[in-house]
Subunit: 295 residues, 2 copies
């Protein structure tokens, strides 16, 4: 698995591909990528299309923004599907629809190739530090074959189940993170408006059942008013969109996910689509005419 | 501070009082308490009224269900206010309204005595094991004076601020715990209905930003279908009631707390007021016609 195609050299993909290149893998990249030149200077092969990448690389990693882009890379004109052959492995590390993923995997399998959905969490920082959490759906055999690649990109790498289950796990992660941010926001805003010191309240809660990574990290951001991303609200909106779209398709009610998406929408109205997701508390503050820590 | 009045010998108060008695404190209890006999056999003094308790003990601890009961113990006929005098300290360890607490404290202070609000978390298990988290509001001086008592009842003992701030912190705690349970419920139900194994999803999420004590403890309960309390839904309903009543009084919107209270209400409709609060997921399951882990 030394030859790796890497399609999608954006904020996440670029540092991930760089980690693979630094580990000695020969990369195949799209010559149309803005970042292609840097990789080619370091030995990567520039390709004219996703089809050409799939023809030359054994493993094709995709890291693009959303479901339609993955569909286009795979099944569009001169896409991966036109160049793939038996024994090759497609790894979609984008965060996209679990339901569409099952369909994509079936179509790739029909061409004789393998498919893994392997979305990540940990953001740009985790991508650079090769400390991403990677949630994988697919066969044990394919997972074992590319595990050494995953280990160059992340730290917590879990095969959760069959195709789609990696994306499902990512959606579950984003539901919990968003709703826990919202919970911490309501609690600290209540405390502040009731006249307590939110920093001392947060500290008192850290040892008990209310403790979480979000109370620790995002709670501190709310108190210190540090809303530089981090993880941007517009990206989390996309992920909750996948949850709500999935809920509708599966027949499932997600009442607090739906309400929390509205608060993200409100943040966009307040000018904050690029704020860190912890800034969701600003929508709550707006409703209360009170900012956490204000006396 | 060797003589301690203890009013409210219920599920929580009884083991707490027993810990103080075992540590050598002479207790003053209401003779009308069902549990009074056991304490008297071990050396406690039975009193005819809260007034009599306040006349004889230096510190008067109250551990009763809700705001009206605290009000009655303090200011009802033959209540604490009639027996209290300068230098004595009232400690309300019940979980009640932060706003009413400020009023109660002011009235006790007007009588020359001190007041601490010191609600706890950790439940019956924590009360028995003397491992409660204790969130205290009041003066540093009073806190220091009774800290040795708190240390015989709990482990994480924090003076958060002035009177009311202990209760505010407890409400903040209960908001976060309820909403995080709800978040974990939505996420695991989504994963299960999408066909993933909720136990593997939970495991994959434990290392990342979605990690929390609730994902660990209550998430496992949801998967193992273990809804024996633990902490009963009807008690958490009372606490979210304090949050929503406080929000209305303070001018504050708590959208997800409000929605989550409705799910607790639904659990009551399903026969579950005495289920553990993690069983909130049953209301979500009811809406989805699907139980977590069902294939």
């Amino acid at each position: 698995m030394s030859d790796v195609g890497f399609i999608g050299l954006g904020i996440m993909g670029r540092p991930m591909a760089a980690n693979l290149q630094a580990a000695g893998h020969r990369l195949f990249v799209l010559e149309s990528s803005a970042a292609a030149g840097d990789f080619v200077s370091a030995g990567a092969i520039a390709c004219k299309s996703a089809k050409a990448v799939a023809e030359q690389a054994e493993v094709i990693i995709i890291m693009v923004p959303d479901t339609p882009q993955v569909s286009d890379v795979l099944f569009g004109r001169n896409g991966v599907a036109e160049g793939i052959s038996k024994g090759k492995i497609v790894i979609d590390m984008s965060s996209i629809s679990p339901l569409a993923t099952k369909e994509f995997a079936r179509k790739i399998n029909d061409l004789g190739a393998e498919y893994l959905d392997a979305p990540v969490s940990g953001g740009e920082v985790g991508a650079k530090a090769a400390s991403l959490t990677i949630m994988v759906g697919g066969s044990q055999q394919s997972f074992d074959a590319v595990k050494p690649l995953f280990d160059k990109l992340g730290k917590n790498v879990t095969l959760v189940g069959g195709n789609g289950d990696g994306q499902t796990t990512k959606v579950a992660n984003q539901i919990i993170v968003a709703l826990t941010i919202e919970a911490v926001g309501e609690a600290l805003l209540f405390a502040s408006k009731a006249g307590a010191d939110p920093a001392l309240v947060r500290k008192a809660l850290m040892g008990g059942f209310a403790s979480s990574r979000v109370l620790e990290v995002h709670g501190e951001r709310m108190i210190k008013r540090n809303f530089e991303p981090g993880f941007r609200i517009e990206l989390h909106q996309k992920d909750l969109g996948l949850a709500l779209e999935g809920a509708r398709a599966l027949g499932l009610a997600l009442p607090n996910t739906a309400a929390t998406q509205q608060l993200f929408n409100s943040c966009t109205a307040l000018g904050g689509k690029s704020w860190d997701h912890s800034a969701m508390v600003k929508a709550l503050e707006c409703l209360a005419s009170h900012e956490i820590g204000e006396s």
